[in-house]
Each structure stands twice: as structure tokens, then as C-alpha cells.
């Protein structure tokens, strides 16, 4: 039946006749989904009008709608469970032993986080630079550069490596950063105590 109402709506870009066919072929599950959207008020204005028409016209839609409406009313009418009469008193007695903890943002210093990040990045970077320095780059006959790894820990001259200026600077920076972090930590602890 191509009723006049179908001509007024455009659902998912389909024509009124296609919509009617789609709706007639819908499984009970799909019908339920559409009806719940309608009951919850989440259906668009177009969809709402269409469903309203369907409920008025089609016995199956109307029956299912009544059923779901009943469930909806029951769900709204569900009773909340009540704890014992002493509940509030118990909570208040319990919290009397505590104080509201300071907000996390007050004791997590962003500078400490940044410092820690810089410390680890520097460490990773330093190690990476050192190991890359140990790689011997050789060219093969096809002119392709293939790295020849020479990172046998037993053959690394640690004494020489630790004596190089770059490594000494790296260690110095890390030690300074470590002291800054320690200072920040102690300062925050002192502030929290006071």
C-alpha cells in the first residue's frame, strides 16, 4: 500500500515505497531497536512520525510497542535497594578518621615528570649514540652500505669509552639532572609537611 504518509518521509535516502518494504521486512529485533529509540526519544523527528504512523496502522508494530512500553514503565518503576539505617552514621564515623587528601595536581609536579622524561631520553639517546659509534660501516661491491656490527661487549674498551669527553659530559648532565630531581622531591616533601 503506497499511502500518502510515505511520500512525506525520506529515511536513509530511500523512497517512500522502499521504506515501506524495508519496514515490512524488518525482523522483530530491528523493530524492537527502532521502537526503543522511539520510546527513549532518540529517534529523529522524521523517524518518530513514521513509527507513530506504523503503530497506528500495523497490528504487529502496535503490539510490540505496547509490550516495550510496559517494560519501560516497569524499569522506571524499579525500586532502589536501601542499605541499613546506620549507613550514613557508619560512613561519617569512618571518614572522621580521615582528611580529604590534597588534589593529585597539587603534589604531582609537572617539572618532575618533565625532568624524569628528559633524564631517560638523554640516557637512551646517549646509549644509542655510543652503540652507533661502535658500528663499522663498510661498502660491498654493489655499492650498498651494509653495517657491520661490532658490539661485542667483551671487546668494548670501557676505559676508553668512559674517558671520552662526550661521555663525561653526558654523565655530568645526568648527575646534575639527578640533583635537580632530588632537590625538587625534598622541597615538595618539606612543603607538604609544613
Amino acid at each position: 500500500m503506497e499511502s500518502e504518509i510515505w511520500k512525506r518521509y525520506s529515511w536513509k535516502g530511500s523512497t517512500a515505497v522502499e521504506q515501506e518494504k524495508e519496514m515490512n521486512m524488518e525482523t522483530p529485533n530491528e523493530m524492537e531497536e527502532r521502537l526503543w529509540n522511539f520510546i527513549d526519544g532518540r529517534a529523529s523527528a522524521e523517524e518518530q512520525s513514521l513509527i507513530r504512523e506504523l503503530i497506528g496502522r500495523d497490528a504487529a508494530w502496535e503490539r510490540l510497542y505496547r509490550e516495550l512500553l510496559e517494560v519501560n514503565q516497569l524499569l522506571h518503576a524499579q525500586e532502589l535497594e536501601m542499605p541499613s539505617m546506620r549507613f550514613t552514621k557508619n560512613v561519617m564515623e569512618e571518614i572522621a578518621r580521615f582528611q580529604v587528601a590534597p588534589a593529585t595536581k597539587t603534589y604531582i609536579n609537572k617539572n618532575i615528570i618533565r625532568g624524569l622524561t628528559a633524564f631517560f631520553l638523554l640516557m637512551i639517546g646517549g646509549i644509542l649514540v655510543y652503540f652507533l659509534g661502535q658500528v663499522h660501516w663498510v661498502s660491498n661491491p654493489t655499492d650498498t652500505i651494509i653495517p657491520k656490527y661490532n658490539i661485542d661487549a667483551g671487546r668494548i674498551n670501557w676505559g676508553k669509552a668512559l674517558n671520552s669527553t662526550a661521555v663525561n659530559i653526558f654523565i655530568l648532565v645526568n648527575v646534575v639532572l639527578g640533583f635537580i630531581l632530588l632537590d625538587k622531591f625534598l622541597q615538595s616533601k618539606k612543603a607538604a609537611r609544613s
Binding site: 509490550e67 525500586e79 535497594e81 569512618e94 571518614i95 587528601a101
Partner: protein, 196 residues
Amino acid sequence: MTTTELTDTEIISRVLLGEQAMYAKLVERYQNYVFTLVIRFIPNREDAEEVAQDVFVKAYRSLADFRGDSKFSTWLFTIARTSCISFLRKKRPDLQSLDNEKTGLQLENRDSGFRADLVEQKSRHAMVNEAIGMLSADDSQVLTLFYKGEQSLEEIGRIMGMEANTIKVKLHRARQRLKDKMEKHFQQEVREMQDD
């Protein structure tokens, strides 16, 4: 303005300023909601009450962290949910998935319980509460949060750590399952209700 008219945010501000007694207002306002949510997870009333109290204590201690970018209830229900999950992990490591419906013995006991009760007329409320009790913890929480907790799909998503669309599907399925349970276990009452 009387204390009962104060908004959650106003009460929280006063608690944070040192009026600890004001917290009782929040407890009174939300105790039934929190207790209902907890009991959906932990059916034992004593345990549920202990966990619900713990929820309010945790909320009090972290009150300064409540930034007010969500409703206080949403924040509180999130604490309730995580507290329930931690409690169940500690107490019952062999616990079935939260997605599982209460099956087997639990359901049989309930079955025999309400069959014996059929002689006495159940109120609609008791019937729906019993049917909700047969659902999985997740299903019953979604239904309680949506219908009683006045939480939107987005807020329920925040509480349960899921997308709003996932919650929409969960809500739809929970209602379907509830309808099935009611048709299966409360056929007589449902028929009587429809006749009314």
C-alpha cells in the same frame, strides 16, 4: 537556603572548606543509588553494604580531585563500579565474567523461590527487581544507571569505560534479556498486568 536545597557542587565546596558534617548530605542523597549499584554486583547484603560504605569513604578522601567536569553522581558511580570489581577480584578470583548471566544453581534457587511465592501477589516493583537480579552484573548496572541513576549513555560510558554507542547496544540487549526473563519466569504476572 536549607542544606537539602544545596547542589552537590555547593556541598562539596563546603566539605572542602572543612565542614565535614556536610558530607552526610551527599551520603543520604546517593546511598540508595550506590547501594543498588553495588548489590547488582555483590548480591550478599553485608558485603554490598561494606563496599558501598567504602565507596563513600574513597569518594570523601578523593573529593579534592573531583573537578566538576562531570556530574558528582557519575564520578561516584565510577568509584562504585571500580570498588565492586576490586572487591570481587579479591574475594572471588574464580568469579564468572561480568557479562555472564546468573545461571545454574543461582537461577534455580530464584526459580523455586518465586514459584513458591506465586500464591502471594507480587508487586510490579518486586517482580522487575527480581528479573533484573537474574541478569548479568553489567546488564543490570546499565539498566539501573539509565533508568534510576539519571545517567545518559555518554555518562554510563564514562562510568563503565566504554563508548556511548557500545552502551546503547548493551542497553538494548539488557532490555531484551529482561523482557525474555519476565516472559519466561513471570508469565502469569505479566499476563495479569496486561489484562489490567
